[in-house]
């Protein structure tokens, strides 16, 4: 794995669903790079292909063509790199934040963060202290043992952010992280992501359709009909 100045490098990334006459191009020839500590938004209407772009970078959706490099490792080049451990990459280098918080309902807030650490082979005491540290830093120290069902939308999303940050990932991918929140909580989450990008030196890629939420982002890509139409 060579050293790279970019956390994410995407080159001519194309994703086509289906074959022949029924083929649909969800994303076409996307090319961009994101540096560590950079906060980037992918903005576009529903069905524009922004989530497909995110899932291809997140090693969930195999690109049809093009190249994806994460922290210097070529994970896809005209398809997944043969023999590459995608799960390990997701575990160690990527953090995910979802539209719905996607916390595991039968785990408490602290356990939801600890699980991400434990599957990355951190010992239980270390996982616990790291989870407490993260949740406390996100003002959730009083909610450590609360189950997701007892948390407010904003609190649950902050627990999800803590889980995404648990393994100190190089890249954080957020899919509509404010969609299920009211405006105030949505703004708080976005402010938090901006802060984390700087503090943790992580590249943060946020997919959203809400223009109001991308204020203060380093870069914004406009996506329309599967193509990046504008960068600002």
């Amino acid at each position: 794995m060579g050293k790279s100045m970019y956390a994410i490098e995407v080159e001519k990334l194309t994703k086509i669903y289906g074959k022949g006459e029924t083929a649909v191009t969800a994303i076409a020839d996307a090319t961009f790079q994101v540096k560590p500590g950079e906060l980037v938004a992918i903005l576009g209407p529903s069905g524009s292909g922004k989530t497909t772009l995110l899932t291809s970078i997140g090693l969930i959706n195999e690109p049809t063509h093009g190249k994806v490099v994460i922290d210097g490792a070529v994970v896809a080049d005209e398809g997944w790199t043969p023999g590459f451990d995608l799960k390990r990459m997701r575990r160690e280098k990527l953090g995910f934040i979802f539209q719905a918080h996607n916390l595991i309902p039968f785990l408490s807030a602290i356990e939801n963060v600890m699980i991400a650490l434990e599957i990355n082979h951190l010992s239980r005491p270390d996982a616990k202290s790291r989870a407490i540290e993260l949740l406390t830093s996100l003002n959730l120290g009083h909610r450590l043992n609360s189950y997701p069902s007892a948390l407010s939308g904003g609190e649950a999303q902050r627990v999800a952010i803590a889980r995404a940050l648990a393994n100190k990932p190089k890249v954080i991918l957020a899919d509509e992280p404010t969609a299920a929140l009211d405006t105030e909580n949505g703004k708080n989450v976005m402010d938090l992501l901006k802060k984390l990008a700087v503090e943790n030196h992580s590249a943060i890629l946020v997919v959203t359709h809400d223009h109001r939420m991308v204020e203060g982002f380093d870069r914004i890509f406009q996506v329309s009909d599967g193509r990046i139409t504008r960068e600002s």
């Binding site: 390990r88 039968f106 991400a116």
Partner: protein
């Protein structure tokens, strides 16, 4: 972190209710096995308590349990005289049903010689029969008390002792009386019937032209001896002397007309293979059906529970969880549910098996085998859920 335990802890009520339901089902499977074994135990109880080596019965019959057998009581003297026979004792059996406290009381009456063997194996309360007439020892299962009197045939009998769990091959509790009493109960007629027999047989004798008047008179004078004799038994049981050869003794008795000497092995075969074979097969089939039902139910529960967790599984995959974490969660839950349900079923049967109307015999081997089968079912059933879980795409975690 054990995800299976965490999930169970969170959905504790649902898990407990499911386990109780499954436990009740497994309890039924265990009781079926117990009844299955109980059939054997019941069928062989009298055979075992008698501790006889040979059962002499009426020729060409499989008596005295599988078929009727009637032989004269005095044959016991001939049997005793056979070389190799240490002791012989006559026994009489009959099933009786009377009304007691406005409820039918069905039991198996065993008549035995006070100087022989085949009587109650143990006295739990009261005493053994000491008088020749009108005393009885009853099995615990008859729920009678010492001193209680019941009318059998022409006389009243007092309960003087309580014996253990002695039952007939059909599961009816046993009661013991002296052989003379058992013969009276079975064969003795009331006075009106005896007078009627004398008149009828006497009239028939008078009409037989082939008899001389002196012969007719002699026979009429001895009608009572013929019609009132009760000295018939169902079997004479014999125990062999140490070192005696069973085959030799059987062969010698077989040479006499009208008798069949059945060894205890043959009697066991008659009882288990003949009398209870269909019931045994029926119960065996029920057990298999119930186990299949249990397997289907466990599979459905695990599958449904996996479907409930699709988003959780997708999230785990998305954050890079290894497959073994997901497989472990499903497998451990399935095993825990099976093991807890087994424990509930076992506890239930342990608490209730003595209250079953028929004997339940819980053999450790059967219980261990069932445990292994339950574990195997849980493992196999969890494959359905695991297969589904492994097919879940991490992308399913995305979206609302």
């Amino acid at each position: 972190m054990n995800l299976a335990i965490r999930d169970i802890r969170y959905h504790l009520g649902r898990f407990i209710l499911t386990s109780i339901g499954l436990g009740l089902l497994l309890g039924v499977v265990m009781s079926m096995g117990g009844i299955y074994r109980g059939l054997f135990a019941d069928a062989l109880t009298i055979l075992n308590i008698t501790k006889a080596d040979i059962w002499v019965v009426q020729q060409n019959t499989n008596g005295p349990f599988a078929e009727n057998s009637r032989i004269p009581e005095d044959i016991k003297y001939r049997i005793k005289a056979v070389p190799g026979v240490a002791e012989a004792s006559p026994l009489s059996f009959q099933t009786i049903q009377i009304d007691r406290m406005d409820k039918p009381l069905r039991f198996f009456l065993i008549g035995y010689d006070l100087n022989g063997f085949g009587g109650p194996p143990v006295i739990l309360a009261g005493r053994d029969i000491r008088q020749k007439h009108y005393e009885m020892v009853v099995a615990k299962g008859m729920n009678m008390e010492i001193g209680e009197k019941i009318r059998l045939g022409l006389h009243e009998y007092s309960v003087v002792g309580i014996t253990g769990k002695v039952v007939s091959s059909s599961g009816d509790p046993a009661a013991f009386v002296t052989l003379a009493d058992a013969q009276d109960i079975q064969f003795k007629k009331d006075n009106d019937a005896i007078r009627n027999d004398r008149e009828r047989i006497g009239a028939n004798l008078s009409s037989i032209q082939a008899l001389s008047p002196s012969q007719t008179k002699f026979l009429q004078q001895n009608i009572a001896r013929v019609t009132e004799s009760t000295h018939t038994v169902n079997t004479v049981v014999a125990r062999l002397a140490p070192g005696a050869n069973l085959k030799d003794v059987q062969e010698r008795i077989s040479r006499w007309n009208h008798y069949r000497p059945i060894s205890v092995e043959e009697q066991t075969r008659i009882l288990t293979k003949g009398m209870i074979e269909k019931a045994r097969m029926q119960l065996g089939l029920f057990r298999i059906i119930l186990l299949v039902i249990s397997a289907v139910i466990i599979s459905l529960i695990i599958y449904t529970s996996t479907l409930d967790k699709i988003k959780v599984i997708a999230t785990l995959k998305l954050i890079g969880s290894q497959n073994r974490v997901i497989v472990g969660m499903i497998l451990q839950q399935s095993l825990l549910m099976g093991i807890i349900a087994y424990g509930i079923g076992y506890g239930l049967i342990l608490l209730t098996y003595e209250k079953f109307p028929r004997r339940i015999v819980l053999e450790p081997f059967d219980l261990q085998m069932l445990f292994v089968i339950v574990v195997a079912i849980c493992v196999i059933a969890s494959f359905v859920g695991i297969r589904k879980a492994l097919k879940v795409e991490p992308a399913e975690a995305l979206g609302g």
